[in-house]
């Protein structure tokens, strides 16, 4: 099987793959920031304890978690033009990814906040801090530290999910592989190269996650 594997063409197509890799990277970074914002907002809303505020957040989280990303992506891709909202494919993709990942991020952050001892919250309230101050100085700094490994895990999922953007013709890693398959009739070379790039991203993120986990254990031991 490796006899017919054409490495020369892979090198020829390398600029395209690198271009795709760059696009995947920045799309994921922007989507990650969006997801963090959505996650923090919907998580705080969910934990607010007031039905009227928490219900929209719960509905958002459950709706996103129970439907496939591809359906969400098509929903925005085919739906937004009808509503008169002109977004480019890339913008639509980033939006869908942020909303999708935001729901999962909300659950991760919630787990982090729940892990903070109740005494911390009581002390913060007793010190007369406002809700925003409690979040900014007491809750989030502690919650984020514990959740970093899970957030990096979510980042891995986000990178893999961004492959679906190839289906609405955003030029990223998978699209580069697809182009090689369709233009040069070399699906094996194209898709294995794509997979190799994703694996590199995966191992980097996994390594970071493990390092952080070690640090957390070390802190707890002290």
């Amino acid at each position: 099987m490796l006899k017919t594997f054409n490495f020369r063409v892979i090198f020829e197509m390398m600029p395209q793959f690198l271009h795709g890799l760059g696009n995947t990277a920045w799309i994921c970074l922007v989507a990650l920031i969006g997801a963090l914002l959505m996650g923090i907002i919907s998580c705080v809303m969910r934990l607010s304890g007031k039905r009227l505020i928490s219900f929209p957040a719960v509905a958002y989280i459950e709706m996103i978690r129970s439907t496939p990303l591809l359906a969400q992506l098509y929903f925005f891709y085919f739906g937004l033009p009808g509503l008169g909202i002109p977004l480019t494919e890339t913008q639509t993709g980033i939006m869908a990814l942020s909303l999708n990942s935001g729901a999962y991020t909300a659950e991760i952050i919630r787990a982090g906040i729940v892990s903070i001892p109740k005494g911390q919250l009581e002390a913060a309230t007793a010190s007369g801090l406002s809700l925003f101050q409690r979040l900014r100085y007491i809750i989030l700094p502690q919650a984020i530290g514990v959740t970093i490994p899970a957030l990096l895990g979510q980042m891995i999922v986000l990178v893999k999910d961004s492959a679906l953007l190839a289906l609405i013709s955003v030029f990223e890693l998978t699209r580069a592989g697809q182009l090689m398959a369709s233009e040069r009739f070399m699906p094996a070379e194209g898709f294995f190269t794509t997979a190799a790039f994703y694996l590199v991203i995966y191992f980097v993120l996994k390594f970071l996650s493990q390092q952080w986990q070690k640090r957390l254990i070390f802190q707890q031991d002290r």
Binding site: L69, G79, G82, A188
Partner: protein, 223 residues
């Protein structure tokens, strides 16, 4: 305008149900097969035989590190080059099984690791053979940490079946994609697709959460 579209959409509702049936078939087959394979590999992985473990860890990393979309492209476009002809349905089930097995293998071996060593030692000294230890002592206890994430994984896999629409299977996402060419209201069409998925997945999400609270309270009650 929306009235006409809504009417058209209701007319094509039977197609959506047909698509849903394809989604359910693919999900059921691949869930079943990956559960069987995942438990098998997970139990093997938990025995900590070095050479097998290296192979299994590499398999899990490769599957977890690449998008499912790329995996299904590899199965569908590259296997034929090596002389293995598969139709779209078989490719879809095969790639979903390979994908799901890796995750379930991790869940199962992780669950088995939470069982205290004393249990294995007691089972060994009772004279049980290795299959008996697994069958009667270890796995039944490990089900408690395994079940909630397993159901969660089922939800993820059912959602990932949407991706098989790209190799031409008319599952419910593909039906939506066809319909949106005739009825150019993506919000309506994919809203309907979303509702159909929601009807399948939400009960499972709920069940997974329920299992988690149920099993964890039971644990603290015993401890």
């Amino acid at each position: 305008m929306w009235g006409i579209y809504l009417h058209n959409l209701l007319d094509s509702f039977p197609f959506f149900l047909k698509g849903l049936w394809v989604t359910i078939q693919i999900s059921a087959l691949s869930l079943f097969m990956s559960t069987v394979c995942g438990f098998f590999l997970g139990i093997i992985r938990s025995t900590r035989t070095r050479s097998i473990n290296i192979v299994l860890a590499a398999y899990v990393d490769i599957i977890r590190g690449t998008p499912f979309l790329v995996q299904i492209f590899i199965v569908f476009f590259i296997l034929p080059e090596w002389g293995i002809q598969l139709d779209a349905f078989t490719s879809a089930v095969l790639s979903l099984t390979i994908y799901g097995t890796a995750y379930i293998c991790e869940i199962v071996s992780g669950g088995i690791q939470t069982i205290p060593r004393g249990q294995t030692e007691a089972a060994v000294s009772s004279g049980l053979t290795w299959p008996q230890q697994m069958r009667y002592v270890i796995v039944p206890q490990a089900l408690r940490p395994i079940l909630p994430p397993l159901v969660g994984q089922y939800v993820l896999m059912i959602k990932d079946t949407a991706v098989v629409s790209v190799i031409g299977l008319t599952d419910v996402t593909r039906v939506g994609w066809f319909t949106v060419q005739r009825i150019p209201e993506g919000i309506l069409v994919f809203g309907l697709v979303g509702i159909l998925y929601f009807l399948i997945c939400y009960p499972l999400v709920w069940f997974s959460n329920r299992l988690e609270t149920m099993l964890s309270t039971e644990k603290s009650g015993l401890g």
